[in-house]
Symmetry: C2
Subunit: 205 residues, 2 copies
Amino acid sequence: MRRCKADAEQTRLKILEAAEMLFAEHGIARTTLEQIARTAGVTRGAFYWHFKDKTAVLSALYERTTAPQLALIREASEQADLTDPLAFLECSGTRFLSVFAADKCQQRMHRIMSNAAMTEETAAWLAEANVELWRVFQRLLARAGEAGQLTDELTPDEVAVSLMVMFNGLLNEWLRSDRAFPLDTLGAKLLHHHIASLRRNGGAA
Amino acid sequence: MRRCKADAEQTRLKILEAAEMLFAEHGIARTTLEQIARTAGVTRGAFYWHFKDKTAVLSALYERTTAPQLALIREASEQADLTDPLAFLECSGTRFLSVFAADKCQQRMHRIMSNAAMTEETAAWLAEANVELWRVFQRLLARAGEAGQLTDELTPDEVAVSLMVMFNGLLNEWLRSDRAFPLDTLGAKLLHHHIASLRRNGGAA
DNA sequence: AGCTACATACATTCACGTATGGATGTAAAT
DNA sequence: ATTTACATCCATACGTGAATGTATGTAGCT
């Protein structure tokens, strides 16, 4: 039994990984610290050495996956080319879908966050993430509205709702249906079609 | 303290109501039988008289709300006018949205089912409900495809995915955003726009 | 030697399930 | 009508296990 610093960090990662899998599969509440430890190949002693309690693991998972991702979205939206916001949304949305489809880690975090029974902390995270997304969509679509790129039938805010629904809906339905359809290709196709229908003179060639 | 049969049935309903509210607000796992009983104005003794355990309440809630609703959907889809499936989908979808927006009970059940950490039973229910919806959508859109009503760009199955995403997405986003937009009016508007974009020569007047 | 990185052992809490008691309604018997 | 017998409906009390948190032991690194 060797215990250098590298080993310690590795068991920490093993615990995180185990928690992520178990949380995603059985939910947070139905996952025991004992299960996490055993899956990670250690005991609860190791767990309590690295983490204060169960919520601390959740927090660490959030910090290492969701939070930086959120920062990326924010950053990208600020550096976005605003001459054609709809094209930007389609492009980055499509890219996100294909990345998401290939990244088991993101998928598990999405399941965890979406099934997290509402404690104060997780609720705050969810709210933060979604409010952030709303802001981005609203900003970009307001810009598109000013540029006269949107259909007359819907206001920019309504288009924002429509895109939020389509985007989050794709992720949720894909996971819920146990990956019943190809998220990357079909997602891109539907996103393209939907965004086209939101443009002024949308469907007309 | 009177205890005729009517009183007993009323306490049963009070327990169901309390459980529904607590499940929707804090999740199933984080809700205690003690909380349910106290909220219903009784003790755990009364609870155990009417129900075997926590899953029995969940089952009763499902039977009284979700199950009959599912039967309605199935029945309606079989009696549907198949000359214009898209119009039927828009019409019944819009009606469902407005009913859902007004029915707190349905909203709570949707939250409960959507946040239910995957036990064997709830997972089976969710699968059943969604498979049922899939069947309905696929049947109707296959029919629409045969009638040549769908856009060339998407297959009937792909259109079915698109509509599932839009529909479930509307419900989820509305609840998640804490009713940030008018589900009935805006939902109808977006559903109409989206379905129009799925028709052959969709956006063109 | 002292600290790190765990394992092990122990204490505590909390929700669950059950057993029991008691109050009330209800039907039959007289 | 009154009493008796019994079932219903619910509260209270108790036992139990499981998960948590903490305290202690201990082998290896530095």
